[in-house]
């Protein structure tokens, strides 16, 4: 598969001109995270497949009614959340064995996890390698104005710390 580096909005524009390659690129970008999310929530690969399929079929079929300021990312995640709730409701209706896996995740203690910040704190060593060092080395010696010297000193202190 050839990679297409167009942005999502460019792909949507192309999709509206019936460009199926653009649609497939959007599919390849998002299908797995949607599928993984559904599997994690519903503990059923078959349900996850059906949900992902339906979301993309709907995206293709409704491509001409997509609004101007459309965010694919937001749209897909909003769809998958609604679909997961509907599927869970259906599972409870059908009486399939969801109690053991899903019901404990609704407990208050389990839901406390959702309130924690999503981003993991960057470790000091990683921060030094990814943030401080590149800035320090990007400062050339000839840039020896007072501001640069102060910044260099501060960065060196951070690295030593």
């Amino acid at each position: 598969m050839n990679r297409d580096y167009s942005t999502d909005s460019q792909l949507i524009d192309r999709m509206q001109t019936n460009d199926t390659a653009a649609f497939e690129e959007i599919y390849h970008r998002y299908w797995f995270s949607l599928y993984n999310y559904c599997c994690g929530k519903l503990h059923s690969q078959e349900e996850a497949r059906q949900i992902v399929k339906k979301i993309f079929v709907d995206l293709w079929e409704n491509r001409f009614t997509i609004p101007v300021d459309f965010s694919v990312n937001r749209h897909l995640y909003s769809c998958v959340r609604s679909a997961v709730i509907a599927a869970l409701h259906h599972q409870l209706d059908e009486g399939t064995a969801v109690e053991e896996e899903i019901l404990p995740t609704f407990a208050t203690q389990a839901l406390q996890q959702a309130r924690k910040p999503v981003t993991a704190p960057v470790k000091t060593r990683e921060r030094e390698d990814t943030v401080v060092r590149p800035i320090l080395f990007s400062l050339r010696p000839e840039e020896s104005s007072f501001g640069f010297r102060q910044l260099r000193k501060a960065l060196q202190m951070m690295m030593n710390f």
């Binding site: 199926t20 993984n36 409870l92």
Partner: protein
Amino acid sequence: MKKEILHKKLSRYLDGEAKPAETRQIQNWLALVDKTTAVASEQEKHQIGEEILNEIKAETAYPLLYPQQKSWWDQLTDRFK
């Protein structure tokens, strides 16, 4: 939580009649990140992805209705094959 209670809460949520606390509980559950991954290997991931895409193609029939145009580069390289 009991199954019946959850079923009622989900029904109300789907009908847009859930209480704020119920909505918050369901949205917290949706926001909860599961660390498990659904596939064992990259090969399996690729296979599942292709299978779902084929099902989408079968349902929408877009490859028949809108066949993909080959790029000028692909057309050129095809001549030398």
